[in-house]
C-alpha cells in the first residue's frame, strides 16, 4: 500500500486530510473525525434545500465535464412518480487519473456519506457505486466500510450497492455505466433521453463522480459560502480539487489544491519539479482525453475549468501527465491512440474505425515508413472523429493527435524524413 506524501504548505487538504490514517477507514474512526454529521444535517432538511446549498456552493462535477452538481441534481423530477436512482461513478479509468482510488482507499466513509446526502437530495432509494474492476483493494475497503455503516444504521431506507466493473474504459462514461449496471454490454446510449429522465433501468437517475460526492459533506457542515470562497481565480470554479500527477516529476502523487492554482507551481513546487537535468516539454492537464499543452502553456496555466480552457485544453478529471524533454511525443501519442482503439465500444463508425486507423498511421510513422501526407490525413480523420459520435471517446483519441501534431510537428516530420531512428512498436 503506497503511503501518501506529507501535505505541502500550498495544498488545501480537505478531501485528502485523512489520507494515510488507517483509523479514518473505520466507521468509529470516521465518526470520531466528525463523519456522518453532515448526513444527519442533510436529513433534517428538505431535499430541495440540500440541492440549493450545493448549487450555491458552485461545486462542479469532478469526473471530467465539470457540470454544476446542484444544477444536475435539480434536473431530477420534483414530483416523484418512479423510483429514483443515484449512480456513483467510481470507474476512474481515465489514464493518468488516480484520485478516486485514494479517496476510496483512505476515506471510504466520506464517499458513503456524500452518496447518502446526494441520495437524499434527489430522493433516490437506491444508489449504485460502480467501482472499476481493477480496484480490488479499494473495493474491499469500500465493502467493509459499507457493511459497518449499514450495520450502524446510518443509511436508513437507502440501499447502497457496490457494483464491480469488468475492466472496460468506456464504462466510466455515464450512460455506458448505466448499461453496465443493468447487466448489458457497456455501450454509451444516445441522449436524449438524459439520465434524469430515463437513466438506469429507465428510471430518473443522477450520476456523480466520487470526488464530487466526497466534497458534499464539507459543503454542508461548513456552508456554501465558505466553499465558494475556496477559489483562486475564476468565481465559476470553486472548492478544492485533487490532481493526480504522474510522469517525469520528482514526486508524483495526488495533490489537493484550491481551484485556480497555477499548474507551474503544482509541477515545480508541490511535485518537486522535473527529474534532475531535465526540462519540462509538455503536459496533459486533465487525463489522457484532453489536448496536450506545451511548456509555455503549462507554465502559464491556472488549474480551474476556465483557466485550462484558455490554454486550449480542459481540466477534465485532473489527471496531470508531465513529460520532460526526453519524451518521444510521437510514441506517447501513438500509445494514447492505441489505448482508445482498444477501448472503443465499436458502436459509432468514426470511433470504431477511426481510432484503429489513427493508431496504424502513427505506428507506421514510428516505424519510419510514414508519408508526409499522413499528418494531414491524421488531422482530417481527427476532424471526422470529433463531435460526431454518441460519446466523446472518439474526440478523446483525436484531441492528443491534433494538439500533438500542432505543437510537436517537427518530431513527426523527423520520423517521416528518416532523421530519427525508427521505433518498432509491438
Amino acid at each position: 500500500m503506497g503511503f501518501p506524501h506529507k501535505p505541502h504548505p500550498k495544498e488545501t487538504v480537505l478531501l485528502s486530510r485523512y489520507f494515510g490514517e488507517a483509523d479514518a477507514r473505520n466507521y468509529k474512526g470516521w465518526v470520531k473525525r466528525g463523519g456522518y454529521a453532515a448526513l444527519e444535517q442533510a436529513r433534517a432538511m428538505e431535499p430541495a434545500r440540500v440541492v440549493d446549498i450545493v448549487k450555491d456552493s458552485g461545486l462542479r462535477g469532478r469526473g471530467g465535464a465539470g457540470f454544476p452538481t446542484g444544477l444536475k441534481w435539480s434536473f431530477m423530477p420534483k414530483e416523484k412518480k418512479k423510483p429514483h436512482y443515484l449512480c456513483v461513478n467510481a470507474d476512474e479509468s481515465e489514464p493518468g487519473t488516480f484520485k478516486d482510488r485514494e479517496i476510496m482507499r483512505w476515506t471510504p466513509h466520506a464517499l458513503l456519506e456524500g452518496t447518502a446526502i446526494a441520495a437524499h437530495a434527489i430522493q433516490a432509494e437506491v444508489a449504485y457505486i460502480y467501482i472499476r474492476g481493477e480496484f480490488t483493494e479499494p473495493l474491499a475497503i469500500m465493502d467493509k466500510a459499507l457493511t459497518d455503516a449499514r450495520s450502524a444504521g446510518v443509511f436508513g431506507k437507502l440501499k447502497i450497492h457496490l457494483h464491480r466493473g469488468a475492466g472496460a474504459y468506456i464504462c466510466g462514461e455515464e450512460t455506458a455505466l448505466m448499461s453496465s449496471i443493468e447487466g448489458k454490454r457497456g455501450n454509451p446510449r444516445i441522449k436524449p433521453p438524459f439520465p434524469a429522465a430515463a437513466g438506469v433501468f429507465g428510471m430518473p437517475t443522477t450520476i456523480n463522480n466520487v470526488e464530487t460526492l466526497a466534497a458534499v459533506p464539507h459543503i454542508l457542515t461548513k456552508g456554501a459560502v465558505w466553499y465558494k470562497g475556496l477559489s483562486l481565480s475564476s468565481p465559476k470554479s470553486t472548492g478544492t480539487k485533487l490532481f493526480s500527477v504522474c510522469g517525469h516529476v520528482q514526486q508524483p502523487g495526488n495533490y489537493e489544491v484550491t481551484l485556480g492554482f497555477p499548474l507551474k507551481d503544482l509541477v515545480y513546487e508541490l511535485c518537486g519539479g522535473m527529474r534532475p537535468g531535465r526540462t519540462l516539454k509538455a503536459c496533459i492537464p486533465g487525463g489522457s482525453s484532453v489536448p496536450i499543452l506545451d511548456r509555455a502553456e503549462t507554465e502559464s496555466c491556472l488549474l480551474d475549468y476556465e483557466g485550462v480552457v484558455e490554454r486550449g485544453s480542459m481540466l477534465g478529471s485532473g489527471g496531470v501527465i508531465v513529460f520532460d524533454d526526453s519524451t518521444d511525443m510521437v510514441y506517447q501519442i501513438m500509445r494514447l491512440a492505441r489505448f482508445y482503439a482498444h477501448e472503443s465500444c465499436a458502436q459509432c463508425t468514426q470511433c470504431r474505425e477511426g481510432t484503429a486507423w489513427t493508431t496504424k498511421i502513427l505506428e507506421r510513422i514510428l516505424a519510419g515508413q510514414g508519408k508526409t501526407a499522413d499528418l494531414d490525413l491524421l488531422l482530417d480523420l481527427s476532424e471526422n472523429m470529433t463531435g460526431k459520435t454518441i460519446c466523446v471517446l472518439s474526440d478523446s483519441c483525436a484531441a492528443p493527435v491534433v494538439s500533438g501534431i500542432k505543437k510537436f510537428r517537427s518530431e513527426f516530420e523527423d520520423y517521416i524524413a528518416g532523421r530519427r531512428k525508427p521505433v518498432m512498436v509491438a
Binding site: 444516445i190 465499436a346 463508425t349 468514426q350 496504424k360 507506421r364 471526422n384 460526431k388
Partner: protein, 516 residues
C-alpha cells in the same frame, strides 16, 4: 382528436408532419432520403452508424436525423457542406475494413453501402494498402443464414431484430473497437421461425440467405408485388424472378399486416411456383383416355356436360384460389343443388413476439376467408360424401379427389393421379402467373400481381370460369382480373364498393366481422 402537426423546412422544402416524428422520416416526406444504415423504421433506434448526420440550424453540432425529433420552425440542411463531409467521412471509415468484394457479393446491386458510396463517398481510399483489413471467417448462423463478417458494418439491425422484434436475443456485438463482429450465442443457432428477416434487414452483403446464395445478381431480377400463400395472415411480399423463374420471396412493407417482415415458412414457400410438371393444355376424355385439345373444344365439352347433368353439384376448391376464381366458379352453378367446400392444411402457429397480430398462422392457406365469404364451407368430409352421389363434381386445384359416381371436371395447375379419370381437365395459372386477390384472416382484401407467364395454354382460373359462365348464359365474360373483381364486388355485400384501384397494393378491409 386531430393530430398535432409540426412545421419545418428540409432542404428548403416546407413540410408539416406529426409531432414526435423523426427528422429522417420527415425528410422522406420532403422527398429527401437521408443516407443511413443502422436506422430502420421497424426497429428501435440505435443511432450508431452516424451516417444520417445533418445540419440543423441553431444547433451547435451536426445531429443524427434518426434520433432527432422534429420541432416547430426547425431548418434542416441535409446537403450542407458540413453534413456532406461528415457523411463522406463515415463512408470512408466504413470502407477501410470492407473487402470491396462486390463482384462476388450477393448484395451487389441492392447494397446500401454501394449506393451511398456512389452517391456521396470519396472516389478513392486514403487507407494505405500496407495496413491489413479485419478478417474473420464466414460463420454458419442458422438453417438459412450465413454471416460474412468481413463485409459487416456493425449497424446492429440484426441484433436489434432478434432482441426486440423476435424477442430471442441470440445475436450480439462481440469484441470491441475494430475487432468487433456479430456473435451468435455459442449454444444456439439462428433458427427462430422469423430469423430470415435479418438477411433483408442487413444493408450490406454480410448476412446472406443460403437459399438465394449465388442464384442471381440483383440487377437480373424482376420484382412483382404479391402475397404470401403460406398461411392466412396475408403477408405482403415481393416475388423476385429471374428469367421467369421465382428465385426469392421478400417482405413488402405493409404496416397493417406484416410491417416489414415475413416468416421463414413464407420465405421458403415458392419452389412449387416453378414446378415443371404442369398441365399445359386442356385435356378431354376421348375413348377412355385424356387427350390434349384447344380451349374452345374443352370449354364446349364442359358446358355440354353441365347442361345435360342432374341438379346435384359439388365443388371442392383450393383455399389458394383467387377470390375472383372462386366467385366465377360458384356462379356457374347458380340455381342448382350446390355444395361447395374447401379444406385447409393446419400447422403450428409461430408468432413474431414483438409485433402484435403477426404470426405464421396455423391455417396454412391464404384465402380461406375469401372462400367462406363466397359461400364455400369448411365441411370438407360432408362435401366428399355428397360428391359420391353428385351428378357433377368440380375440383379446383385440390389434390384430394373424391370417389364419385358423377362426372369429374378438374381445373388445376398439376394433374394428380386420381384426376386422370376426369371428363375434362382445364389448365390454370398459379399465384405467380396471374393477377388476383385474397381475403386474409382479418378480412383484409389484398391484390397480387402476375410475376411470370403461365406455362403453355394455362389461363387464370377466373378467366376459365368466366368463359364457362358466359357459355352457360350467365352474362358477358370478363377480360381482366380487375373486371372480374368488379363483378365480385357488385355481387358480394362484404366487398361492395371496392375495386382494384382502391385496393392498390396494400389492400383494404372488407366489411366482414374479423375472424376469431
Amino acid at each position: 382528436m386531430p393530430e398535432e402537426l409540426v412545421n419545418l423546412t428540409i432542404d428548403g422544402v416546407p413540410v408539416s408532419v406529426s409531432k414526435g416524428m423523426l427528422v429522417i422520416e420527415a425528410a422522406k416526406q420532403a422527398g429527401v432520403l437521408v443516407p443511413h444504415y443502422c436506422y430502420h423504421p421497424g426497429l428501435p433506434v440505435a443511432g450508431v452508424c452516424r451516417m444520417c448526420l445533418v445540419e440543423i440550424e441553431k444547433q451547435p453540432k451536426l445531429a443524427i436525423s434518426c434520433a432527432t425529433q422534429v420541432a416547430e420552425g426547425m431548418v434542416v440542411k441535409t446537403q450542407s457542406a458540413a453534413a456532406k463531409s461528415a457523411r463522406t467521412g463515415v463512408l470512408e471509415f466504413l470502407l477501410i475494413n470492407h473487402p470491396l468484394d462486390c463482384p462476388i457479393c450477393d448484395q451487389a446491386g441492392e447494397c446500401e453501402l454501394q449506393d451511398f458510396t456512389f452517391q456521396e463517398g470519396r472516389a478513392g481510399t486514403r487507407y494505405s494498402p500496407d495496413y491489413p483489413k479485419r478478417f474473420n471467417p464466414v460463420e454458419d448462423f442458422g438453417p438459412d443464414v450465413l454471416y460474412v463478417p468481413n463485409r459487416c458494418i456493425l449497424c446492429t439491425r440484426c441484433v436489434r431484430f432478434m432482441e426486440d422484434v423476435a424477442r430471442e436475443p441470440v445475436l450480439n456485438v462481440s469484441e470491441r473497437g475494430d475487432r468487433a463482429y456479430i456473435g451468435v450465442h455459442p449454444e444456439t443457432r439462428l433458427d427462430h421461425p422469423w430469423a430470415g428477416n435479418v438477411v433483408d434487414l442487413c444493408p450490406v452483403g454480410s448476412l446472406l440467405s443460403k437459399d438465394f446464395l449465388h442464384k442471381a445478381r440483383a440487377w437480373e431480377l424482376d420484382k412483382t408485388a404479391s402475397l404470401c400463400t403460406g398461411c392466412s395472415q396475408g403477408c405482403n411480399v415481393t416475388l423476385d424472378t429471374r428469367e421467369n423463374v421465382v428465385v426469392r420471396v421478400r417482405p413488402r412493407p405493409n404496416l397493417e399486416v406484416n410491417r416489414y417482415f415475413i416468416c421463414d415458412h413464407g420465405r421458403m414457400n415458392y419452389r412449387w411456383m416453378n414446378r415443371g410438371d404442369r398441365i399445359e393444355a386442356p385435356l378431354v376424355k376421348r375413348g377412355g383416355e385424356l387427350h390434349a385439345t384447344d380451349w374452345q373444344d374443352a370449354l364446349e365439352r364442359v358446358t355440354t356436360t353441365l347442361r345435360g347433368a342432374g341438379p346435384r353439384v359439388v365443388s371442392l376448391v383450393s383455399p389458394r384460389a383467387s377470390t375472383e376464381a372462386l366467385f366465377f366458379a360458384r356462379e356457374l352453378f347458380r340455381g342448382l343443388d350446390w355444395t361447395g367446400a374447401f379444406q385447409v392444411v393446419m400447422g403450428e402457429e409461430a408468432p413474431l413476439a414483438g409485433v402484435p397480430d403477426l404470426a405464421l398462422r396455423a391455417e396454412r392457406a391464404p384465402n380461406g376467408r375469401g372462400a367462406e365469404l363466397l359461400g364455400y364451407g369448411r365441411e370438407y368430409a360432408a362435401a366428399l360424401a355428397a360428391a359420391q352421389s353428385a351428378a357433377v363434381v368440380l375440383v379446383l386445384d385440390e389434390p384430394d379427389i373424391p370417389v364419385r359416381a358423377g362426372t369429374l371436371i378438374y381445373v388445376g395447375t398439376v394433374l394428380p393421379e386420381r384426376a386422370r379419370d376426369a371428363e375434362v381437365v382445364l389448365p390454370i395459372a398459379n399465384v405467380a402467373e396471374e393477377d388476383g386477390s385474397f381475403v386474409n384472416r382479418d378480412g383484409r382484401v389484398q391484390r397480387y400481381a402476375q410475376a411470370k407467364p403461365a406455362p403453355g395454354m394455362a389461363r387464370p382460373a377466373w378467366w376459365v370460369f368466366s368463359e364457362l359462365g358466359a357459355a352457360l348464359g350467365h352474362g358477358e365474360p370478363v377480360g381482366s382480373a380487375a373486371e372480374a373483381f368488379e363483378r365480385v364486388a357488385q355481387a358480394i355485400d362484404a366487398l361492395r364498393g371496392l375495386s382494384y384501384e382502391q385496393l392498390g397494393f396494400v389492400g383494404k378491409p372488407a366489411a366482414v366481422p374479423v375472424a376469431v
